[in-house]
Subunit: 167 residues, 4 copies
Amino acid sequence: MKAIALLACGGTIDKDYNALSGELDFAQSYLPELLKQARHQLNLRLETLMLKDSLDMTQTDRECILNACLKAPERLIVITHGTDTLTQTAEYLEQHLVDQISLQKTIVLTGAMRPFRLAESDASFNLGAALMAVQTTRPGVYVCMNAQLFKAHQVKKNRQLGVFEAH
Amino acid sequence: MKAIALLACGGTIDKDYNALSGELDFAQSYLPELLKQARHQLNLRLETLMLKDSLDMTQTDRECILNACLKAPERLIVITHGTDTLTQTAEYLEQHLVDQISLQKTIVLTGAMRPFRLAESDASFNLGAALMAVQTTRPGVYVCMNAQLFKAHQVKKNRQLGVFEAH
Amino acid sequence: MKAIALLACGGTIDKDYNALSGELDFAQSYLPELLKQARHQLNLRLETLMLKDSLDMTQTDRECILNACLKAPERLIVITHGTDTLTQTAEYLEQHLVDQISLQKTIVLTGAMRPFRLAESDASFNLGAALMAVQTTRPGVYVCMNAQLFKAHQVKKNRQLGVFEAH
Amino acid sequence: MKAIALLACGGTIDKDYNALSGELDFAQSYLPELLKQARHQLNLRLETLMLKDSLDMTQTDRECILNACLKAPERLIVITHGTDTLTQTAEYLEQHLVDQISLQKTIVLTGAMRPFRLAESDASFNLGAALMAVQTTRPGVYVCMNAQLFKAHQVKKNRQLGVFEAH
C-alpha cells in the first residue's frame, strides 16, 4: 500500500469553541480523533505543520507547506487547510512544484466549512473524499471540496454560497 | 458534471436506536441528512431500494439491486449496504454486469461499521470516499471501506478486526 | 402538574456556527430541539424573548425580561440567558420582583458554557437541572449552573475558570 | 457543599454500539465523560456498581445496590439504572430503607431512553435533573425521568409511550 502524508495546517476543520473566551480558536488538531472514527487502514503519517486561520497565513507559511511537500518521502499528500485561502495555497504549490521531480506527487488540499468538533460537520466527509482522491487520481495539485475534485488553478470559493466552484 | 446515482440498501449506516424496543432498527434512511451535512455539489439522485440488515438479504434483494444498476440512467453508481454481506453483493453485481453494456458503469459499494445516527460514525467519511472514488476510478465494481478501494472480487471482511482487507 | 414558562433570551446556549461568516451567531433557538431530545413530560410553554449575546443586553432588554416574568401566567419560570451577565439579570429580577405578588414566583436562570449545537455541550444538563430546580425549590430568583443552585445575589461567574461560584 | 454519591448500575444510559457484534452492550461507563461535559462543581463520588441491562438484574444485584446506599457516607445519592426495572429497584430500596437511620438519605434513580454515546440522548438532561433533585428535595427514594420527580411507589413506566407516569 502506498504511503500517504497528511499535513495539517489548521483552518475551520480544526477549530473548536473556547468556553472561556467565547471564540473559536485552535487548541489542538482533531485529525487524530477524526481518523480514529474513520477506521481507515491506510499507511498514513500525520504531521501538524501549523494551526492557523487561513486568513492569517503568510508567504512564510506557504513556503513551509511547500517545503513539507518537497521533503515528504511520500508521493501522496493530503493537506488540511482553511477554506478562505485554500485555492491560493493550491495555486502556489502548483506553480512551485511543476517541472520538478515533485511533479510526480499527488497533492490534494481539503478543509471544512464547519469544524469537526461542532457536530454536523463536513470534515469527515471531506477528508474521506480527499484521502480517496489522492489514491485514485494522477499526479498534480488538487482541491477537494463539496465532493468534487478540482485542479488547483481551476477552482474558486464562492463566498456568498459557501461552496467551491469551477473557475 | 456527471450524474451519480446513490442507491440506499440499508445496513448499519442507516440503523438507529429504537427507544421503545431498545434495539437498533430502521426508521428511515439518514442519507439525506448525511448529504446535507456534507455540503456536496454533485448532480446526485438518491433512491432507497430497501432498508435491510445485510444478513437478511435474499437473492431477490440482490436481483433488485442489480436491476436498479441496469436501469439507472447514470453511469456512476454508489450503493450503501450492510457490511456483513457487502462483498457478496459486490461479487454478484460484478458477475452479472460484466460483458454487458453496463460494463461501462462504475459501481462503488460502501457502508459503515457504526451507524450515522450514533455519533463518532465512519458513515460520512466512507460516503465521502465512495462518492469520490466513483468519479475518479475506471468502470467496474468496487468496495470502498476503511479509506481503501478494492475490486469486487479482491476483498473480504475480517470480522475479528472489523475491517475490510485485500483477498 | 404545575405549568412552567421557559423564556429564551439567547446566550451561548443558543449560538451556532455560521459557515459563511466563520463566526458564532444566532440563527434560531435550538431549545425546541433540546426539549425534544430531553423527552420531558412537563406542561411547558416556550417563549423566545430575544436571541442576544448577554454582553449586548441593555436595560431595555432586562425590562423586557422582567415584564415577561410579571405577565407570565405560570408561577414557575426558567430563563435561558448568556452567562456573562446572567447574574446581573438575576439580581435585577430579584430586586424588582420582591415585595410583589410576583414574590410567589420561582424563577431560575440558566445558560451554557458551550453551545447546544456544538456537541459536548453542557446545555442539556443545565436545562435539566434548571427545570428540576424550578419545581422543587421555594419561590425566589435563582441561578442554576454547574449542577448547583444559587440565590440570585449570592453568585458570581469566575471568568478565569469559567464556572459559577458562591459570592 | 454536601457530598453526593453517584452509583452507576448500567442500563441504556451507559450502553454503546459494538461495531464487531453489531449489538448494543457495555464497554465501560460513560458517566465520567458526561460529567466532564456537564462542567459540574459538585463534591461528587462516582462508583460503578455494575453495568447491566436492567432486565437482567437479579435480587442479588438489588441487594448490592441497597448495601451501597447503606454504606455510602454521603446522604445524597443518585443512581443510574436501566429504565425497564427502574421503578422496581426504587420500590425495593424504599421498602428496605424506611424506618432506618438511612431514612435521612435522599436517593434519586434516573436513567435514559437513549444511550449517552448515541447522540441526541436524554442522558445529560436526566442526570442534570437528578443531581439537582437530590440536592433540593426531602429525604426519601425518588425516580427522576422526563423532567419529573416521582416518589418511588408512585410511578410506572409506560412502555408503549416510553415515558414515566404517575401511578
